[in-house]
Amino acid sequence: MTSVPSKLYSDDVSLVVVLLDTNPFFWTASSSLPFSQFLSHVMAFVNSILLLNQLNQVVVIASGYNTCDYIYDSSSDASQLGPENGKMPSLYSNLLQKLEDFMIKDEKLGKDQSQRAIKSSLLSGSMSMALCYIQRVFRSGPFHPQPRILCLQGSPDGPEQYVAVMNAIFSAQRSMVPIDSCYVGAHNSAFLQQASYITGGVYVKPQHLDGLFQYLTTVFATDLHSRSFIQLPRPAGVDFRASCFCHKTTIDMGYICSVCLSIFCNHHKKCSTCGSVFGQAQSDTSSASDLKRKAPET
């Protein structure tokens, strides 16, 4: 009965939250694609999103090594535009300025810490921020752009972020926000593969990095409405096997602590994570199968 016209807002209006990896450790080591070039590809991509629809919105969040921050928001762009930079395209001036500030801040935060082996970026932080932002867009009323997240990641996964990243992925899945990911690093990123698979996004690892812009516009500029009739890279098999907590090896079968769900590759007396002491082994499988036999299948 509530016949509020639903077509007031056209289908392809989108909000793209770009998570930009600015990890200095990765970009200094990356020889195939310098950061400046990468950035120019991304900027052209952001431009093309904004070009496609006047109501499209782009937010860029930088995920650095020590911190994360918003560096661009196209919705607040127009108001910031002063008369002094009338001719200068605002995207460039605002984004580059903020990005520079961010990089300096990121570096400062890292100064007093000793060099460590982990070279990952704070993906979990930027993902969480992006999701908070998207929730705000959802709250803004019945007419909002269709949101999606695009991770532009180069640095490797940080195992210590596993729980946080997974939490963010599940929250995105619940609010039906697809996470697209474009991985420009050397090996595949298991985090991003899982993120895109679970949330229904697209994962791409470009073969030729100098054509990055073409990858970005071909795959990631596609709005959610058009995805129903456009050919996109199909998800390759994602490895959902777990790795055990004790040796970090990938296993087919293992033991799970019933209290904290820690994964072990062989039987222990005591759980190293939560400290529970275990009863007799293997009783479970037998009783479970007993139960199975007794209770007829539904």
Partner: protein
């Protein structure tokens, strides 16, 4: 022939009626917003004003969060993550009462459906079964299982109510089933009770003691009024007893049972459970799936022990009984184990501290924390990273995201 035509015409008339239906039926329709007076409150000067829903919602949420955190703060959090839950639905005569719209039964069914989905979302390794009380007896509608769809389908097909209600029969039945559950599992019963009486064949007190002995945690949500026997049952077995005021309250009460309860060591014995992490079957491979007993192409998982093919995870292998999960299913439960601390409300006095003044937007969503008129609105701060958040983000972070964006964007040193 003539018969046929008459038939057709009648059909046509019926069709016509259906077309007009939304107009003709207007007399009986439930108009929304009929309790509009409830959305008013009196302010200090005696004037009526609409309720500030947002503030109230947030206060309510804060209360819930606090009660949760005090309960678990005392020691290391242990939660019963592997749950075996029996949901008992009272479909006796009392369930047809229409004090809930359209009836108690319909409201219960609707919310149980939502609950089942929420439950499996939060407890991917747990199982549910449905039991119905009707005509003085209890019978099992579905057996323990991990697929929300099959439960919901079975429930929706059996929505009729009649006869008396019997609490004892239900408990006896559930007890019989739950007694076979492996020791690491948490045995739980959730009873949605409409009736004000129970019509039992024997001494219910004995049954309650039996349940207590088997470490079954029994909770009851009443739809009419508080009953001694229900309260007694819950007290004895360590469950929760509550009575719903209206539909939204009922929904709130039932959803409280979705997150895993704190594990009590004596209830469920810690154990190592053997589980399999199957790999996805190669694309285009053809095999017979063990759950539907049909030939299927691609898109499936192979049990690592017996190599049988299953369609979806998590499940139990039909052939060898091994629990099959994928790592994201385990990860879904991790936030129960590593919850984020509740945020502190920022009091006006602290807002005046000089070094805090700079932050004027919510760290999460960038929304301004200053109301029009330059008056700072109510907001919260994370005790760890000291970032400020708006109330909406506070709720989202604790209810759905389970990450503090501030802490996550700091490299832990």
């Amino acid at each position: 022939m003539a018969n046929n035509i008459a038939e057709k015409r009648r059909q046509q008339e019926e069709d016509d009626e259906e077309e007009d239906g939304d107009l003709d039926g207007w007399g009986e329709r439930n108009y929304a917003d009929e309790r509009s007076w409830e959305a008013l409150q009196e302010d200090e000067s005696g004037l009526l004003r609409p309720l500030d829903n947002k503030a109230m919602y947030h206060a309510q949420y804060r209360r819930r969060l606090r009660s949760l955190s005090t309960a678990s703060n005392s020691q290391r959090i242990q939660k019963g993550l592997i749950r075996f839950l029996y949901i008992v639905l009272d479909l006796s005569r009392a369930a047809s009462v229409m004090d809930f719209r359209p009836s108690r039964m319909a409201v219960v069914a609707k919310n149980v459906e939502a609950f089942i989905r929420e439950f499996f979302d939060q407890n991917p390794l747990s199982q549910i079964a449905l039991v119905i009380i009707k005509d003085g007896v209890a019978y099992s509608l579905t057996d323990l299982g991990g697929s929300p769809e099959s439960h919901v389908k079975a429930l929706m097909a059996k929505l009729e109510c009649s006869g008396d209600s019997s609490l004892q029969n239900a408990l006896e039945l559930v007890h019989e089933y739950l007694d076979q559950i492996p020791s690491y599992g948490n045995r739980e019963v959730l009873i949605l009770y409409s009736a004000l009486t129970t019509c039992d064949p024997g001494d219910i007190m004995e049954t309650i003691q039996k349940c207590k002995k088997s470490k079954m945690r029994c909770s009851v949500i009443g739809l009419s009024a508080e009953m001694f026997i229900c309260k007694h049952l819950c007290q004895e077995t360590g469950g929760l007893y509550s009575v719903a005021l209206d539909e939204s309250h009922f929904k709130e009460l039932i959803m409280e049972h979705a997150p895993p309860p704190p594990a009590i060591a004596e209830f469920a014995i810690a154990n190592l459970i053997k589980m399999g992490f199957p790999q996805r079957a190669a694309e285009g491979s053809i095999s017979i799936c063990s759950c539907h007993k049909e030939c299927k192409v691609g898109e499936g998982y192979i049990c690592p022990r017996c190599k049988a093919r299953v369609c979806e995870l998590p499940t139990e292998c039909r052939i060898c009984g091994l629990t099959l999960v994928s790592s994201p299913h385990l990860a879904r439960s991790y936030h129960h184990l590593f919850p984020i601390t509740p945020f502190d409300e920022v009091t006006p006095s602290r807002q005046n501290e000089p070094h805090r003044r700079s932050q004027k937007t919510c760290f999460g969503c960038q929304q301004g924390l200053v109301n029009p008129g330059n008056k700072p609105s109510l907001h919260v701060t994370c005790p760890k990273c000291k970032q400020y958040f708006c109330l909406d983000c506070d709720i989202y972070i604790h209810e759905s995201l389970h990450n503090c964006p501030g802490c996550e964007s700091l490299r832990a040193s």
